[in-house]
């Protein structure tokens, strides 16, 4: 699949997005967006992409419908038992990390599927990146059960069920297959 076949609909966060009054109902995510999204982007810590209200959409919808952050990560084992070490790759596995993903609470019930659009927009960006850099898959942090159900619907597998947030993973080939078989 050519990742360019699915153009992203998001743009990089700008100061006016931050000042637009985004609220998703999760205090930590709202605080991140208001205080850190722009500065993290400028300091190269992580990219934040926003989905803005399309032209012609009801003005009651917020200017920023949702956002997500993307960065690269390298998955490695924290504690590897000697017996399993030989069966595991000896180098960290590069992957894309969707650190945060949130839709404004005013989009709920709008039928716009903002969360789904954000996730597949991120997938589209990751597929383009995977043409240029090593990337075995996509990792997300599911902060609660509803989030875990959301990601599971789109083929993410929970890696560790012992603590929150849950790390979840989907292989890049599976993501590619979603678009190829759509």
């Amino acid at each position: 699949m050519n990742g360019r076949a699915t153009s992203p609909r998001t743009s990089r966060v700008e100061a006016e997005d931050v000042a637009s009054g985004f609220r998703c109902g999760d205090e930590a995510l709202d605080d991140f967006f208001a205080r850190h999204a722009c500065s993290n982007d400028e300091r190269e810590i992580g990219r934040t992409y926003v989905l803005r209200r399309p032209e012609g959409a009801p003005p009651a919808l917020p200017m920023v419908l949702g956002f997500y952050t993307l960065s690269m990560t390298a998955i490695g084992a924290a504690l590897v038992a000697k017996s399993t070490l030989e069966r595991l790759p000896r180098y960290p596995l590069p992957a894309a990390l969707i650190g945060r993903l949130a839709a404004d609470e005013r989009t709920r019930g709008s039928g716009l599927r903002v969360g789904e659009t954000l996730l597949f927009d991120a997938f589209a960006r990751v597929l383009v990146a995977a043409e240029n850099v090593g990337c075995f898959g996509v990792v997300v942090d599911a902060k609660h059960e509803a989030a875990e159900r959301f990601y599971r619907k789109y083929d993410f597998v929970t890696l560790d069920e012992t603590s929150w947030p849950r790390k979840m993973f989907v292989a890049i080939a599976t993501v590619r297959g979603m678009f190829e078989q759509a």
């Binding site: 399309p54 490695g76 597998v157």
Partner: protein, 123 residues
């Protein structure tokens, strides 16, 4: 040196239109475009951020020049480690070695995305 490249029809038409409008040859248009792309890649690799050129803070940026490759170069420029348990790492390895076929819901969602469920698009 002569190079051949395959580009979408729309891009080829845009090159012809630009060459006609600007009084340039198609080779000059392509050469200038590639030159700009090389500069942008070099800047991103050097840790610089590609920014819009703003002449008036109130009216926002005049333009933002980027491409899918440049965008991916930007966010993939840095990487942070993620440590998981050995069992979790083994699960990742298994998913990578034998990636599951995408499920019905994911394929349907991808189809909606490709059709542009949020049309008119934000960009």
């Amino acid at each position: 040196m002569r190079l051949e490249a395959t580009v979408p029809d729309s891009r080829a038409q845009a090159i012809e239109r630009l060459a006609d409008e600007l009084g340039l040859s198609k080779s000059q248009v392509v050469d200038e475009a590639v030159s700009m792309f090389i500069q942008a890649v070099s800047a991103v690799r050097g840790g610089r951020r590609l920014v819009a050129v703003a002449t008036d803070q109130r009216s926002g940026p005049d333009c933002l020049i980027t491409t899918p490759t440049l965008v991916s170069l930007e966010w993939t420029a840095t990487s942070s480690p993620l440590q998981v348990s050995s069992e979790a790492l083994e699960r990742v390895r298994a998913l990578v070695a034998a990636p599951p076929a995408p499920g019905t819901a994911a394929r349907a969602a991808a189809a909606r995305f490709k059709k542009g469920a949020l049309k008119p698009a934000a960009e």
